[in-house]
Symmetry: C2
Subunit: 226 residues, 2 copies
Amino acid sequence: MLAHTTNPAAPASRNARMVPPVPSQALDDALAMMGAVMSYPRNAEIYGENEPAEYIYRLVSGSVRTSKILDDGRRQIGEFYMPGDIFGLEAGREHAFSAEAITDVKVIVVKRSAIEALAARDNEVARQLWAVTRRELQRVQDHILLLIKTAQERVAGFLLEMAERVKASNEIELPMSRQDIADYLGLTIETVSRTLTSLESSAAIALPSSRRVVLRNRAALRRLNA
Amino acid sequence: MLAHTTNPAAPASRNARMVPPVPSQALDDALAMMGAVMSYPRNAEIYGENEPAEYIYRLVSGSVRTSKILDDGRRQIGEFYMPGDIFGLEAGREHAFSAEAITDVKVIVVKRSAIEALAARDNEVARQLWAVTRRELQRVQDHILLLIKTAQERVAGFLLEMAERVKASNEIELPMSRQDIADYLGLTIETVSRTLTSLESSAAIALPSSRRVVLRNRAALRRLNA
DNA sequence: CGACACTTTGACGCACTTCAAAGGGGGTGG
DNA sequence: CCACCCCCTTTGAAGTGCGTCAAAGTGTCG
């Protein structure tokens, strides 16, 4: 099987270190073997915060967000997941975040106990599970670096990250709403909107529609991404 | 909610979920067996950003910070490590952060290749390495939750986290400087200082000296920690 | 075509930063 | 043992980037 993993045409990466897809053939095969395909409509909850983490998921199509609601109602997005990504692994015995379908999604679901039993027998699977967790850790660390920056830097960084992950030339289709972006970046929806508008004015990007973004000047975005 | 009631001896925990120490006897034993003890004086670099990640470390005594300098000179602290913690595992093939001794420290150092070879043979060690990485991930996720809050909430959350980790009744000795705290919380040193002063005025804490903090009213701190 | 959800734009306020200077406190040398 | 110095911390005053509140677009699906 030619895995979806490698991409020779990858664009020059952002200055934050790359988080390359983990080549995880053995794991992917195991998940495909053992797992059931499930579908969730847009906005459905895949699992909830504090639920026992009984399953792990491999996203087949669509996009997923993980989030956490704070006591005062503020919401933080943990991560966005794209096809091929594995999620639901981030927790201890309980999910620390909830996961929701941003678009209609298909996922492969596997019982955690089953995959862990396999890992106990198959060191390659164990190694890849660990690698997936380390990649997740890197993503979260990159996320922290975004959160200490200015609004312009956060939005520019977000766009570069998305462009890299969806690997679509220069025009990217954002599956998530402005509110999702705002809650990912620790900003308000108004600030995200204003910042995008201002990036458009400075010709760094174009916005053919609110969910479509054309990166016109990556160098400028990378400069903002300080 | 009757949450987090599990440990009667533990002080009531913060509302962010606990990140309990991972019981890792097999791993600790292996590290003790295979490792060399090294000492670093205060402020010494243990490893640098972008260096190959050849070793992993178990902190024996003292405190360590990991940090990353951004292009414009801003510094972000990744995590603080206390005795018993394992660090240096957070990266891919290269360290994403540098690690520095906050105080004089002693660490046990083990070649990564050696511990990975052991993990390939000993599933218990492999499992525990994965568990350490997952705990690290949880910490970083909690860190993100701090970064989206107000200054008061960040500082209160930081104090509660430190109190929990050093497990010293109500008076804690902070090994790190105000600058370290500021760079951990994404604030300026002035804001950290002002916030501590204001928490003292409101009788939530006392500051016998700049590095010593007495938690006088955890409930108030937890309330701020929204 | 009309209703509803999402996005954009505007005006204003405030929390935190920035710039500046005044305290400590602890270690060293006289 | 005291005095001086250096570094860290605290306090003050003023500026500003982002949040808040409010209202006007814009697209989409019945």
